[in-house]
């Protein structure tokens, strides 16, 4: 029998003792966190498949989970690394679609950049053209550049936080972040 809001460590202990079905509570509890990470980083049709991979990886790694860290952060880190692995495989197989940007999107961007209000710019970002430009520009980057830019440039994480989530050293994150930003500027300003 479970309490209404059981503690994560209590659930993990019971799973480790063989009560596998208890894992469903962890899936239900952290599904929003994991899906939020995946939906932003992956093609929509791949989200469910990678979500399965994330929760299976987490389950298999449960015996090595150190209770000092927060389970949510630990799971987020697995989710982010799974996205990175996904893109690495895709790049290796050369399955990344690097199409050219459509003429209408270029015009849309030029027009959008004339806006002065923060709210208008945010609303512009919700339009289809913005999504196409984002995908086009980020598909031109390597998986390393992509994952670092998403965390730091788009989501506003600090170098330290990104380093913890990716399991990379801070120096590597800083260098990668600087270089990938330059690449993105080049793609967005010069390459169309």
């Amino acid at each position: 029998m479970l309490r209404k809001d059981p503690d994560d460590n209590e659930l993990i202990d019971r799973i480790l003792k063989g009560e596998v079905n208890i894992y469903r509570f962890l899936i239900n509890k952290y599904e929003p966190v994991v899906l939020r990470i995946l939906k932003k980083r992956l093609p929509f049709e791949q989200v469910e498949e990678v979500a399965q991979v994330v929760f299976i990886k987490a389950y298999e790694s449960l015996p090595s989970y150190r209770r000092q860290s927060c389970f949510k952060n630990w799971l987020s880190s697995i989710a982010i690394r799974s996205c990175y692995d996904f893109w690495r495989v895709r790049y290796k197989k050369k399955e990344v679609n690097i199409s050219s940007i459509a003429e209408k999107d270029k015009e849309w961007l030029d027009k959008a950049l004339l806006e002065q209000s923060f709210d208008v710019l945010t609303k512009k970002g919700q339009e289809n053209e913005a999504r196409e430009i984002l995908e086009w520009a980020f598909n031109k980057l390597s998986p390393e550049d992509k994952i670092v830019l998403e965390l730091i440039y788009l989501e506003g994480f600090s170098n330290k936080e990104a380093s913890d989530l990716l399991g990379w050293g801070i120096a590597k994150v800083k260098v990668r972040s600087f270089r990938s930003r330059k690449k993105l500027e080049k793609i967005l300003n010069l390459n169309y």
Binding site: G18, V47, P63, A130
Partner: protein, 106 residues
């Protein structure tokens, strides 16, 4: 230069907003059942905690208390030493043996 930064800032707002917008897409719940089915098929988990794990946990939990105990203990030992020295030199200033001796002639 300002124009460049302004343009860059605007670009960032648009892209961040577009990135965040993708969160709103709806996903079905079917994958959760499939995940649980795959997990049930896996072999049972075995705990692979290192042998020092329990001791390590205790060590970190009691670090502060242990440090305080050491500091207090050291202070206490020092006071005992001082007390013994006090006893030797002040409470019993004249050792009977020394009192009876004539000293060493140089």
């Amino acid at each position: 230069m300002d124009d460049f930064h302004n343009k860059h800032k605007k670009m960032r707002i648009i892209l961040s907003s577009s990135f965040k917008e993708k969160e709103k897409l709806k996903v079905s719940n079917k994958w959760k059942d499939e995940t649980m089915a795959k997990i049930r098929d896996l072999s049972p988990l075995t705990s692979v905690q290192p042998p020092y794990f329990i001791l390590e946990h205790i060590f970190f939990r009691f670090t502060t208390a242990a440090t305080l105990a050491i500091i207090i203990g050291l202070g206490f030992l020092e006071s005992i030493e001082e007390h013994e020295a006090y006893q030797v030199f002040y409470e019993e200033p004249l050792d009977e043996y020394l009192n009876g001796s004539r000293g060493i002639d140089i």
